[in-house]
């Protein structure tokens, strides 16, 4: 819509996620969602956390990876018409600040949720001895990105931090386990939660990989 615009930016959509205040608004939005869900009666806290995670990931998937094009006309002759908002961000340049931020937020939400779920379950007092795992690298379940991660130091760093935060709790309940993902296999209830949340996280993280820029699997969402 260069017609009527006062700047020479071809696609204003590319700059939205790096504008002033949008990251704060995003975080506040997640907080608001969580508070709304918390105010529903008869729903326990771990379920609320899982719901927050699910709804956030679903909305992120819809708005960033499903909706294509721009809500206004652009003078780029339709180059952005087949691109999702994620692909349009910063004109396709990878690893910009906004992209990193939007990748890390769902990952942080997952351990938060995991901690919160574990906390509330630990408070219920279900103790069980767990087996010790040999190395953290074998635990593919909690590194959802696999070997070639786009931000290996950052992701692993966060996981480490979370693990260290939870360790005292683990030791308090049973001394043998070392990694917090084990606690999520504690009870059947929690295992289910964890699987759901990880699957949801994967749906949001995989489209963000630079290798999947512009890729449409099985022709879904191509036109």
């Amino acid at each position: 819509m260069n017609v009527g615009t006062a700047h020479s930016e071809v696609n204003p959509n590319t700059r939205v996620m790096s504008s002033r205040g949008i990251w704060l608004s995003y975080v506040l939005g997640i907080g608001l969602l969580h508070v709304i869900l918390l105010s529903i009666p008869f729903v326990s806290v771990p379920v609320v956390w899982t719901l927050t995670n699910l709804i956030h990931n679903m909305c992120m998937y819809i708005f960033l990876h499903t909706v294509k094009g721009t809500p206004f006309e652009t003078p780029d002759q339709g180059k952005a018409r087949l691109l999702t908002h994620w692909e349009q961000m910063d004109y396709g340049v990878q690893f910009t600040a906004s992209r990193k931020f939007l990748t890390i937020t769902p990952i942080i939400l997952l351990p938060f949720r995991a901690i919160m779920n574990n906390n509330s379950i630990l408070i219920d007092g279900r103790a069980k001895a767990g087996s010790q795992l040999s190395k953290p690298e074998d635990s593919g379940a909690l590194c959802p990105l696999g070997a070639d991660q786009e931000n290996p130091p950052a992701v692993r760093g966060w996981l480490d931090v979370m693990a260290r935060l939870v360790r005292p709790l683990q030791y308090s309940s049973h001394g043998l386990t070392r990694w917090y993902f084990l606690t999520s296999f504690y009870t059947k209830y929690d295992k289910v939660h964890f699987v759901i949340n990880t699957v949801s996280l994967l749906t949001v993280l995989i489209p963000k990989l630079p290798q999947l820029h512009g890729v449409r699997l099985f022709g879904i969402n191509r036109y």
């Binding site: 260069n2 006062a6 700047h7 020479s8 204003p12 002033r20 205040g21 949008i22 206004f72």
Partner: protein, 532 residues
Amino acid sequence: MTVWLTDVSVFSTEALQASCNGVAYNRPFIESFEETPMLVAVLTYMGYGILTIFGYLRDFLRDWKIEKCHIAREREEQKEFVPLYQDFENFYTRNLYMRIRDSWNRPICSVPGPKMDLVERVSHDYNWTFEHTGKVVKDVINLGSYNYLGFAENSGPCAEAAAEVTEKYGVGVASTRQEMGNLDKHEELEQLVARFLGVESAMVFGMGFATNSMNIPALTGKGCLILSDELNHTSLVLGARLSGSTIRVFKHNNMQSLEKLLRDAIVHGQPRTHRPWKKILIVVEGIYSMEGSIVRLPEVIALKKRYKAYLYLDEAHSIGALGPRGGGVLDYFGLDPRDVDIMMGTFTKSFGAAGGYIGGRKELIDYLRTQSHSAAYATSMSPPIAQQIIASMKCIMGEDGTTIGRERLRQLAENTAYFRRRLREDGFIIYGNNDSPVIPVMLYMPAKIGAFGREMLKRNIGVVVVGFPATPIIESRARFCVSAAHTREMLDTALSVLSEVGDLLQVKYSQHRTQPPMYRAFHDTSYEDADN
């Protein structure tokens, strides 16, 4: 809560001769673009988010035929075809723009002077269609027209001269400049324009937009580089794109960004072959109409000379409006017109006419007379308009024997300074240079755009409001254009109404309501105002 003045560039009077980038400014260059307050930014995004959700809801209702659909749709049997009416690209228009559409395209039924008459419109289906009630809203104070020197009038020497010429020549020209459309009025006008600007020769065109978009392709081509400011007008962008040159954009009025681009261009040459560029053309505007900022021309000229690039200066809003003699931004800074290779401007804003001109060296203008698309294919300027420009330009230069021109220039400068000072004191966030007659007042939130336009019209003031995507997403604004024809009473009325509407809509966002501390003698109480 102490507040720092952000993004204010001030050169105090003592530091003038000491310069910026080795370049001396002969007057203080005070621009301010106060940053959006964080709370306001968050609320703006929330506003757009809510509007988007409601937009989706309304689309859903329209799809399921619960709500009546006013926009064009494909026929039932063509639903499987490639879509003709791009649904999603229309989202913003039908869900946001349509709701506040009554702030734009208002029909004016008088001369757009300091006061105007508007046709009263009413809409019964939420702005999808308008009906004229038959009444006219009279004497609306006009704060939106580009009428800087007040020459948009239907009486007075300029208008009478134009009427006489209409009787002699008629209105239409019926030909292009190169064929039969070259009148003696055009020759007279071109010589006058060249004299006014201080250049060797000038050429006039019938349309200001076409002056840019049709002449830049004649000047540069493939293998040339155009360095264009971020916020250049669409006509410059279109001309640059039509030319086929490589375009690189530098940050708005940012000389470090421009210098970096120049150095990179000269060092690396063309993209793959690394051959030297045939030409480097820097395209800037005198006053940027959406920001109200003035270009840092002394520095641009210094850069251009150092790196041997060419300079194209678009003085659409600054010619006649800046400078002690009305000579535009060159006059304002006291620079030599020979430093600027191509001086372009329009007659729409300060001369009360239509059309544009390009001034420069004789060889350049002779080249444009043959090579410009506008000269070869577009109808030339209409004779009464040419006469209007001749009369108003003579008036500004003082050659008609009166001091009206000088009076108007002085009045414009006074009005600008007064209006800006009062708005800043009231607490609005204003962008731009202290001397620019274009004054954007920030509104930020989408709903306030519509509310502001309507509330001002209710109180008989016509303003121009702009929102996303014409501006960045969190920088919607109302833009005022001060005119020399506005009297002090009109401005005072406008300011009191603005203050009232500002309080009603809570758009007085500025977090520093006093003058910058540099201008006040220091005493113990001088920092008290800065803390809210």
